[in-house]
């Protein structure tokens, strides 16, 4: 069986039941592929045991890049490439460069962060989203379990655990 193609999905009606179910399913040794919900469920990442995102590091590094680029650009332009006296200041008038430096820092930090986020979550325009259940855009929470990833456990057993954890339906879903 190929990885990432055959799934068991548990459909949950209520977010509290869902959160309890996540704890239960995880403690029974099943690896959860992903949980889909129509709205952000507060604290769900802790229940799923997700590590904190490394996105802030990317933001910091891109910000640093912006600062460096902005200062280098301005010093190069204003002091070496085409020296100009503006307002009677020195060629390399550091305070004058701060507003542009600030703007470029913010711009690169935010664009870089958005870019890294899109790459890391596979949010490209031509990406084919996998809809595990159409109702996740309406009123149902869906827990997806990759069968290949849980091959140590029998399928019937997984379904039973999902059912007993409060899922209103247990379905199968395959992708090509």
């Amino acid at each position: 069986m190929e990885r990432d193609t055959h799934f068991v999905t548990g459909v949950y009606e209520d977010e509290d039941v869902l959160l309890q179910a996540i704890t239960k399913v995880r403690s029974s040794g099943i690896k959860i592929h992903e949980v889909y919900s129509p709205y952000p469920v507060h604290g769900i990442d802790d229940y799923l045991g997700y590590k904190r995102s490394k996105l802030p590091i990317a933001a910091f590094l891109f910000g640093l890049l912006g600062t460096t680029l902005a200062l280098t650009m301005q010093f190069y332009m204003m002091k070496f490439d085409w020296p100009m006296i503006i307002g009677g200041k020195d060629y390399g008038a550091f305070p004058d460069f701060i507003p542009v430096t600030f703007e470029l820092t913010v711009l690169l930090a935010s664009f870089g962060m958005v870019g890294v986020f899109m790459v890391s979550t596979n949010l490209k325009p031509w990406a084919q989203p996998r809809i595990f259940d159409l109702r996740i855009t309406d009123d149902k929470h869906v827990m997806a379990i990759d069968i290949a990833n849980n091959s140590a456990m029998e399928l019937a057993k997984i379904e039973e655990i999902l059912k007993s954890s409060g899922a209103s339906e247990v379905n199968k879903k395959s992708f090509e």
């Binding site: 509290d16 959160l19 507060h42 604290g43 904190r52 802030p56 910091f60 307002g87 009677g88 200041k89 305070p95 004058d96 701060i98 507003p99």
Partner: protein
């Protein structure tokens, strides 16, 4: 997301133990000793007194004492009123996360009555030694010292009396601001402690209404008090964002004080419902408003630097080109922007005490330097500086302030036990 009901001790009070009192009094003692050394040094060691006397204006040691009193009056008044302001913000914004620490914020206001008395007394004692505009000859057209710029601003201080007599308008504002601030503080205190007895939501609604009025009043009074108490020292000079700059300085220092108090109370085993999520939010406030302060500081600096108009640049030339104050400009920016910005950037440093405590201490010292730079160059000129007197006076004020706040915390319940949003505060999670 804990859904079980928490059982916290809601009748807890801060116990101002003899050991804590002792350490506060030790700081007070060290401060007083340094202050006395500083005064003695200034009295007997003033080497450049004669040179200045030849120019017609003799420098006296007590001018430095007055300047120090004024720095700390303004600074600690600001920290105290920010406690009340932040309390009012919580109600106006209908915030629930902060409920457990709301009385820690309000407790800072206990310094306000003392600060008001100190401020008015210092003003009358120091008078000419702090405020150039109090000299009557500046407004006398016959006098060779007549100053038409200050004459133009004179009504702001002296209206409705004749310029150069008694600064009625100025004193009126000082009394009005302190009066209203203390009035609102007492109102908030009365309602929040009354809530412990009567319960229900009526106290909450009343405080919210009073908060709205207080915030309107504070929006105006904080700016004007900054012009009156700080900007009028450099009477010729003006800056349109000065009020917000002083407010930002107060706000960051006040937030740091609140955070330090919360961490201290937690270390005493109190406020167990306050966890790292609440501390994180306080840390974010400090981080954000540190940048806000820097933004205002830099906005003021850049425009003056860029426009290069002599009557504006004099403020920075006086400071940057001075051997005494020049280095402190960079100390100011380092303590109040660079270090907090880098140290508080990560999530963990805002959630766990050690870094946050360090940054709060740096900021409280840093914003004292900020006020030092606002007050001393205009009052003392080359006779100023950071010496024993400055450190001593700061410690004396800090210890007295701490003593007043901690005694007030020991009097009432720490947690508003009937606050309608207390449960929300328990479950605050970010």
């Amino acid at each position: 997301m804990a859904h079980d009901v928490q059982h916290y001790n809601l009748d807890q009070k801060f116990d101002f133990t003899a050991a804590t009192k002792k350490s506060v009094f030790t700081v007070l003692g060290i401060g007083a000793a340094l202050l006395v050394i500083g005064i003695l040094m200034a009295m007997f060691g003033g080497g450049h007194g004669e040179a200045a006397e030849a120019e017609g204006h003799a420098f006296h040691w007590y001018e430095r004492l007055y300047a120090n009193l004024w720095i700390n009056n303004v600074y600690f008044t600001g920290i105290a009123i920010i406690g009340v302001f932040f309390f009012a913000i919580q109600y106006a914004a209908q915030a629930g996360w902060s409920t457990a620490i709301i009385r820690v914020m309000l407790s800072l206001g206990n310094w306000l009555p003392i600060a008001g008395v100190l401020m008015i007394v210092t003003f009358f004692v120091a008078n000419h030694d702090l405020f150039h505009w109090t000299h009557a000859y500046l407004f006398d057209k016959a006098s060779p010292e007549y100053d038409h710029i200050i004459d133009g601003k004179g009504s702001f201080f002296y209206w409705p009396m004749a310029k150069g007599t008694f600064p009625v308008f100025y004193i009126f504002r000082m009394v009005l601001f302190f009066g209203f601030w203390v009035f609102f503080f007492k109102k908030f205190q009365q309602f929040t402690y009354n809530e412990d007895i009567i319960g229900g939501t009526s106290s909450w609604y009343k405080i919210r209404s009073w908060s709205a009025f207080f915030l309107i009043f504070f929006a105006v009074s904080s700016s004007i008090s900054a012009w009156d108490w700080v900007m009028s020292i450099d009477t010729h000079w003006f800056s349109t964002l000065f009020g917000w700059y002083v407010f930002a300085s107060w706000f960051v220092a006040g937030l740091s004080t609140i955070t330090l108090l919360v961490i201290f109370l937690k270390s005493q085993g109190l406020l167990e419902m306050v966890n790292e999520n609440h501390v994180h939010d306080l840390g974010k406030f400090i981080f954000g408003f540190t940048i806000f302060w820097t933004y205002l500081w830099f906005s003021q600096f850049l425009l003056i630097y860029y426009a290069n108009i002599p009557e504006e640049t004099v403020y920075f030339i006086e400071r940057l080109s001075s051997d005494i104050y020049g280095p402190f400009i960079f100390v100011n920016l380092g303590l109040n922007f660079v270090l907090p910005f880098l140290l508080l950037m990560t999530r963990d440093s805002k959630r766990h005490g050690v870094f946050l405590k360090l940054v709060c201490a740096l900021i409280i010292a840093g914003h004292w330097v900020d006020f030092f730079l606002m007050v001393q160059p205009g009052t003392l000129g080359h006779n100023g500086g950071v010496g024993f007197m400055e450190v001593g006076m700061f410690l004396v004020y800090g210890a007295a302030f701490t003593f007043v706040i901690l005694s007030s915390l020991a009097k009432g319940n720490l947690v508003p036990k009937n606050h309608p949003m207390l449960e929300e505060s328990y479950n605050h999670h970010i």
